[in-house]
């Protein structure tokens, strides 16, 4: 096989739980028998800056980051951040977008405008675009901070070779006891979104 590695790129804003979500994907893939590597940059970016995390899995993975044009699935936790990483996608890559807008400083100050047509741009370029409001799902589940788990629920529907039980077992072991239930609810609601 020329490229047996699947590339997932998670993007968003520092504080949205992106690194946690990518950690969970890795554990799911390890449980499913894959070699896995992931990469992100800590430090300055966490201060409300743009954040990304690469997850790559397959029989044997070398690089922990994907190159431009290599990503199979882009999971964007914030609308604007989708655009920033669009060039990483394969021409037939798919996108999952959280329908949330977080304004960067230049927009807050009124010096730049937040693009209004993000979804149109993305849908014009790529065939498979799934838009969900993960924050709404999280609130419905009972805790706004489970938006990242809701996004994983959405993702799980597109990775159909991985059984739902694998995901749920990883989630059960990952979260502290008292937040397992609400995360499982958010995950299930994400699957139905």
């Amino acid at each position: 096989m020329i490229n047996a590695v699947t590339n997932i790129l998670l993007t968003g804003v520092g504080g949205q739980g992106i690194l946690l979500a990518s950690e969970i994907i890795c554990k799911v893939m390890i449980t499913s028998g894959h070699d896995v590597k992931k990469s992100e940059v800590h430090g300055m970016a966490q201060r409300g800056g743009s954040v990304n995390s690469h997850v790559r899995y397959g029989e044997k993975v070398f690089s922990p980051i994907a190159g431009k044009g290599d990503v199979d699935i882009l999971i964007s936790f914030e609308k604007l951040e989708t655009l920033r990483y669009l060039d990483y996608l394969k021409p037939d890559g798919m996108i999952i977008i959280n329908d949330t807008e977080l304004y960067p400083p230049s927009v807050n100050l009124g010096e730049a405008t937040y693009p209004e047509d993000i979804l149109e741009i993305v849908q014009k370029q790529f065939e498979t675009v799934k838009v969900v409001n993960a924050s709404d799902i999280a609130v419905k589940a009972g805790n706004i901070r489970t938006a990242n788990t809701a996004m994983l629920g959405v993702l799980s529907m597109y990775l159909d070779t991985i059984g739902v039980d694998v995901w749920k077992n990883v989630l059960r072991n990952f979260f502290p006891e008292k937040t397992v239930k609400v995360n499982l609810i958010a995950f299930d609601l994400g699957r139905k979104a």
Partner: protein, 596 residues
């Protein structure tokens, strides 16, 4: 047992497995987690030293006593530690000493992109470079073995991508450790006066020759012969990038980047038709290969700056990348990191930005305040530079600089390398004002303890440095303490100190908003009353993430409440992000900012 680990976690684990029980470090991205993780293992001693030079000296002391000691720092930390490093290369180590340098290609969180492989050559210290977490764990063990066998300090070079990427690591049981420490006198080896050093100098060259011989048969300098048309010589993370896109080519993967295995390189070159060096930053390997008279391609097609990725390596060698999507030109507002909501630096730098002084800055979260809208900092060079620069500038400007030069430095950075420059200001009769931003932690790297927090790395209570007493002892007559959450007083005190003759110190004291231990007051989030907001935008000048601008034209007609004819919109606070620091409330002359 297998576990998903970052390169940094794997180093800590590897060191523990091979019997290391002693580590010193100063935090710095991307190296910080190595010592943090190591400190959690049973029976280890791990410390945050005040700076990297001290960390190395602590490590040397432990090694001379017979311990296996590990010293950890980011790439620029090696500059600070260079003095002892160049001479411990002469003395050798007795026990074992491994120095980890975590380089930062692309400068994700650094002020420069220096390639510390050059230090290996310069200081005549061998250097290993792992490519992933498993190798990080294996190589730290090998580094300690080499240190012991060749009586030399050893460098282990990490890069951000190896430190902060995660991959699967095979865990092993720790070896049994026994106490190997004792006092051993050996002045001819450890007292580096000229007539001892001259003897050791010759010994260093002998050792380097032995290491060159070792490199030829070192199992981690590995040849993978596949398609002989193209050969790639590489090391560290770039090996993965190349392997990802060119699995069919032949490789010479170097686990040891200094000294190089010359015979092995010649043998590899003879086996392939054409060959490349794939290395980030400096042409460190490439120049040495070219000096052998071999025709290798490197920086002719690869960039000097920034980290690589698989697509970039493919494009450089093949000249194209067919995979890319054809995108329309996109106008994307940047999203730089920002000071957090409630950050105590914000009030201080808001005031400094309005004072129109030249603010020499330093390394820390507060460096971000150079950006709009605060614009409260004018320079940032290296750890501790703020104080020396403020002094030099005020001396050079003479009367023109009076009341116009301020140096700003964080608490941990001040301890790292600001104390002696402050002594210099008193000694040489300076005229600038130094602000120590005391947020009671090393915030930028993720909340590490330091000598003024009252706790050690391993959580023990300890002495806590008093900045005011220290400044007085150094000879600073005017020392003031302010709360940066109080804008009016901050402004008053800064103006008073700038108008005085002689150096002053202002301690801007307020715990980092993310430091739970020191959050004693209950603060309530704020909101903006649209009925009262006059749209003056003064609150937006704080650059606080929860505060944004809303144009009237984007609001329903019924919500538009104009207070003046010219008013174009209102400010809005996202109360879910607000921590209630009240800075905006203090600035709002319309009284529009209220508790939720």
């Amino acid at each position: 047992m297998h576990e998903l680990m970052s390169g940094n976690e794997a180093i800590a684990r590897g060191a523990y497995e091979c019997g290391v029980r002693f580590a010193s470090a100063y935090p710095g991205t991307p190296s910080t987690e190595i010592n943090e993780e190591f400190s959690k293992y049973e029976g280890v001693y791990a410390e945050w030293s005040p700076n990297e030079k001290i960390a190395v000296e602590v490590g040397i002391g432990a090694a001379l006593a017979g311990a296996k000691s590990m010293v950890v720092m980011k790439h620029v930390g090696v500059n600070v530690a260079a003095d002892p490093l160049f001479t411990v290369s002469y003395t050798g180590t007795n026990g074992a000493l491994v120095i980890i340098t975590a380089d930062d290609p692309s400068m994700h969180s650094s002020q420069n992109e220096q390639d510390n492989r050059n230090y290996a050559k310069f200081a005549k210290i061998p250097m290993l470079e792992p490519a992933d977490s498993q190798e990080a764990k294996d190589y730290i063990k090998i580094a300690f073995d080499i240190s012991k066998e060749f009586d030399t300090p050893v460098f282990l070079r990490m890069t951000t991508r190896v430190s902060h990427s995660k991959s699967i690591v095979r865990l092993e049981d720790p070896v049994d450790t026994k106490d190997t420490t004792e006092i051993r006198h050996n002045p001819a080896k450890y007292v580096m006066v000229p007539f001892h050093a001259r003897v050791r100098r010759v010994q260093v060259e002998k050792r380097m020759q032995d290491l060159r011989d070792f490199a030829e048969t070192f199992s981690e300098n590995r040849m993978e012969i596949n398609d002989k048309d193209v050969g790639i010589i590489t090391a560290g993370m770039p090996y993965n990038y190349a392997k990802d896109v060119f699995r069919e080519y032949s490789y010479l993967k170097l686990g040891m980047v200094y000294p190089l295995p010359v015979k092995l390189i010649r043998e590899f070159a003879s086996k392939v038709k054409q060959f490349y060096v794939v290395e980030e930053l400096d042409p460190f390997i490439e120049e040495q290969i070219k000096a052998l008279g071999l025709n290798v391609t490197g920086k002719e097609i690869f960039p000097y700056a920034n980290e690589f990725d698989p697509g970039m390596v493919k494009t450089a060698i093949e000249g194209k990348n067919d995979n890319l999507v054809d995108l329309p030109p996109l106008k994307i507002p940047p999203r730089p990191p920002n000071l957090c909501p409630g950050c105590p630096h914000r009030g201080l730098f808001y005031v400094l930005g309005k004072l129109k002084a030249f603010v020499t800055g330093d390394i820390g979260c507060y460096t971000l305040s150079f950006m709009k809208p605060l614009e409260g900092m004018d320079s940032c060079i290296c750890m501790g530079a703020s104080i020396g620069m403020a002094h030099g500038m005020s001396k050079a400007l003479k009367d023109k600089g009076k009341g116009k030069v301020v140096g700003v430095i964080g608490d941990s950075t001040f301890i790292h390398s600001g104390i002696i420059p402050l002594l210099n200001m008193a000694y040489n009769k300076s005229n600038a004002v130094i602000v120590i931003c005391d947020n009671k932690t090393t915030a930028m790297t993720g909340m590490q303890e330091h000598p003024a927090t009252g706790f050690t790395l391993q959580g023990e209570e300890t002495k806590s440095l008093d900045f005011a007493t220290l400044a007085s002892a150094l000879g600073i007559d005017s020392v003031r303490v302010i709360d940066p959450y109080d804008i009016k007083n901050t402004r008053t005190v800064m103006k008073e100190e700038l108008s005085k003759d002689g150096p002053s110190v202002v301690i801007s004291r307020r715990a980092c908003a993310l430091l739970n231990r020191d959050q004693t007051e209950v603060r309530k989030p704020l909101k903006i009353n649209p009925e009262k907001c006059t749209g003056c935008k003064i609150c937006l000048g704080l650059g606080c993430p929860p505060i944004s601008w809303k144009n009237f034209e984007n609001m329903p007609e019924s919500d538009v409440k104009k207070k003046t004819k010219k008013q174009k919109g209102i400010a809005v606070i996202d109360s879910s992000l607000c921590n209630g620091c009240t800075l905006c409330q203090q600035l709002c002359s319309a009284g529009a900012i209220e508790e939720v």
